[in-house]
């Protein structure tokens, strides 16, 4: 027996297959196959982003910077209105126009239309598009940040398509935990410090939202007592974008509270405002709920504050994470969700392993019965093929899903196809009276074009499936494709090499043992 290059390649492939599938199978160190969420359990979500809301808040923040700058320069602004894509207002004094123009010049991405003393400031279409895009990327970053801090292993957060976000969290243990994760993601974490409209606050319970809007106010609910209402100025003094840190702490009554710190700009605005408004109330608003509205006793410098209001420890923890990782510029909503409990995943693995092993044994035994030694050789190739699939998947960090397992099972059935074709060809040639060596060589040559064409067409279907499939289905396409490619190496090249090693030993009398046939003229 002499080694030939085909056998050498086959052996190398076998070593590669065994070596790289060992970490996944035996749990030792090395590159491993990742189990899909359907097999290990976990949460898969596709989120949409409400980008219109991002536009609204962008407009609001432009409104508040115009107002702040106008106050700073002591310009008198009247009829200030927030509209869909911009704001409009009127100056009372003609002399203020150049100053206002200078202020507006500093705001990027807006178009200004002037009509006498009337101003209309709107976002440019380009700015609208970029705000929308930014809202999506910002949501991706923010959600990733929150999940990373939540402390579960390896969550995936990625933009998918034009305007969707894919979130995958493996290792979720219970539905309760899953719900908590969803709530953490959904939290807008929009912190606002707002001035209570003390002039009209007494009438808040009689006021309609429309009336409040006329005064430039909004009515907000108390976080704990839904019956309690506050009338606050619509444009906030400052918001969470100026926040640098948020931590859980405990107050004197041992209740969890959240301490936050503002950046220098925020601290300055906060200090200025509190200095000018001693005796009035300041509402701490989180996601449009008023958590507290303490009376300002003196100017508050240093830029730190506190949110209190009956949190549980878990809640406070999650709110702090959300505040630290920043507010969502736009709310996210659920488009698709798939969550699988760990026990179901384990059941699926068990069931598909049983199917794989049974199917594998059936094919292996059948091939030996039908082809004799030729069947054994095909079976060796099949085993190497299986290891190769696992090895390649581990190498590229591919994900094994339940349909992926089905793909492997299917490969077991189809990978022996190449050997069936080849063996049938060899048998034919032997019947024609060719010598064993010749029958083998010609058999492989004749079978090659058929196998190639057949595999390529199957591969076309698999590639399309990969391109258009989602999640688990992609897993099916992956294992099928790898299986097909690996079978070209094992079932064609590998078995060919083995035959070349042993063919001298085969004489025409032992065709029954080697190929499972009896020639009409031959003896037993």
């Amino acid at each position: 027996m002499k080694l030939n290059y085909r056998v050498v390649i086959f052996l190398l492939a076998a070593l590669f297959g065994l070596g790289l599938s060992a970490p996944s199978l035996l749990g030792i160190k090395g590159p491993k196959i990742t189990l899909g969420l359907d097999l290990q359990g976990g949460l898969h979500m596709l989120l949409g982003v409400d980008t219109d809301e991002a536009i609204r808040s962008k407009v609001k923040s432009i409104a508040s910077s115009i107002k702040y700058a106008a106050d700073d320069e002591e310009l008198i602004v009247d009829e200030f209105k927030v509209e869909k894509n911009g704001v409009s207002f009127e100056l009372l004094d003609k002399d203020d126009v150049p100053k206002m123009d200078a202020i507006l010049k500093k705001i990027p991405g807006v178009a200004v239309v002037k009509e006498g003393l009337k101003y209309r400031v709107t976002l440019t279409p380009k700015e609208i598009e970029s705000v929308k895009q930014y809202a999506i990327t910002q949501a991706v970053d923010t959600i990733r940040n929150r999940l990373d801090q939540f402390g579960l292993a390896e969550p995936t957060v990625a933009k998918q398509g034009k305007d969707k976000i894919l979130v995958e969290v493996p290792g979720v243990k219970t539905p309760e935990q899953e719900q908590r994760i969803r709530e953490l993601i959904a939290k807008a974490a929009h912190l606002q410090l707002m001035a209570v409209d003390e002039e009209r606050a007494g009438r808040v319970y009689q006021m309609t939202p429309a009336e409040a809007a006329r005064y430039g106010d909004v009515i907000l609910q108390d976080a704990q007592d839904p019956n309690r209402k506050y009338l606050v100025k619509e444009i906030p003094i400052l918001d969470g974008s100026m926040l640098t840190d948020a931590r859980v702490a405990f107050d004197r009554n041992n209740q969890p509270v959240i301490n936050f710190t503002l950046d220098s700009q925020g601290a300055r605005i906060f200090g200025d405002f509190t200095g000018k408004n001693v005796g009035k109330r300041l509402a701490v608003v989180l996601d449009n709920m008023v958590y507290s509205a303490p009376v300002i006793r003196e100017r508050i410098g240093g830029g730190s504050g506190q949110i209190s209001g009956g949190f549980s420890v878990k809640e406070a923890h999650d709110v702090a994470i959300a505040l630290r990782s920043g507010a969502l510029l736009a709310p996210v909503f659920m488009e698709e969700k798939r969550s699988v409990g760990p026990s179901l995943g384990a059941d699926s693995i068990k069931a598909s392993m049983i199917a794989l092993i049974t199917g594998f044994l059936a094919v292996v035994v059948f091939m030996v019965l039908y082809y004799g030694m030729a069947g054994v050789i095909a079976d060796v190739a099949l085993v190497v093929n299986l290891f190769l699939i696992l090895a390649v998947m581990a190498l590229f960090g591919a994900t094994l899903t339940l349909p992926g397992m089905a793909g492997i099972v299917l490969t077991v059935g189809m990978a022996v196809d190449a050997n069936v074709i080849i063996n049938e060809r060899i048998r034919e040639l032997l019947y024609e009276g060719k010598s064993v060596a010749k029958a083998i060589e010609q058999g492989y040559a004749n079978a090659f074009s058929a196998i190639l064409d057949a595999n390529i067409t199957t591969l076309i279907a698999a590639v399309v499936l990969y391109a258009y499939g989602t999640g688990p289905i992609k897993g099916f396409a992956i294992t099928m494709s790898i299986g097909i490619l690996a079978s070209m190496l094992t079932a064609i090249l590998g078995t060919h090499g083995i035959w070349q090693m042993v063919e001298q030993k085969i004489d025409k009398k032992s065709l029954g043992k080697w190929f499972g046939i009896k020639l009409a003229g031959g003896k037993k």
Binding site: G48, E424, A445, A450, P472
Partner: protein
Amino acid sequence: MELFKYKKPIPLMAKAKLFFTVSVIAVLASWALIMFKGFNYGIDFAGGTLVQVKYEGKAPLPKVREAIKHSKVFEGASVNYFGSEDEIIIKVRTSSKQLGTDIGDEARQLLKNTGKFEVRRVDMVGPKVGNELREKGLMALVLSIAGILLYVSFRFEWRFAVASVMALVHDVSIAMGAIVLFNVEVNLDILAALLTILGYSLNDTIIVFDRIREGLTSVRSPKLADIIDESVTRTLSRTTLTSLTTFFVVLTLFLMGGEIIHGFSFTLLVGIVVGTYSSIFIASPLLMMMGFDVQKYRQKLAEKKKREAEKEKLRAMYEQGTV
């Protein structure tokens, strides 16, 4: 062991009309089923929510139905056993956009007093995603067929390509008909199964066509029917064997792979049977029907010898080991 020992060509083409009749009836019946009864779309394509709950012991079906009866989100929900009597599946066409408290959480609340249970799976697909998935799925089917058509035209001849695609349409139609007939729920995995059938059935057809391509030059008779009979008979053994091994493994998947993979393996089982049948009895006669002319083909071959050269090149490549 040998199941089919080649003695002489089986005169299959003589009976082509019979096979055609059977197939046309089956395809038409499938189309009628698809049109009049329609697919039972699962939540992947129709949108909706699915909650899989496992009880300790037998699941109290009536109690569950009672518990969710008055809930608004579960209006029109169906509750059924899933795989075993411990496990149930609640399906409803509604979906919630909310991240905080979703339909799964709602189900957990409502079922609180029905016994000890575990919510094992909650799938929710919004209507927009459902539509998108359906469009993408259809696109995938069309693109696969187009890709296959192109490849086969390039490697064989256009009539071969058309015949193989018609055989594919035949297979996929009948598999879809079976899905409708047995009320299998159509989700993404069924789409994957249908695409696999495409690949698989084509695989079979190509092997036969490859033999016919070979027979066009090697079989003495100038009659296409003879060449086809010879080629089909020669590949009969392989076609049956491979179909058997694949059928075996898919059958184990069907019987032991668990409830989730049932629809998938069922579709594959039907596809394997139909695909095998069509590559033997349908694809090649179609070639004949389209008026493939052996004489012309041979003339063309003699003129150009293009395909032969290509094959030689492949063979040479293989022998040098560069493939």
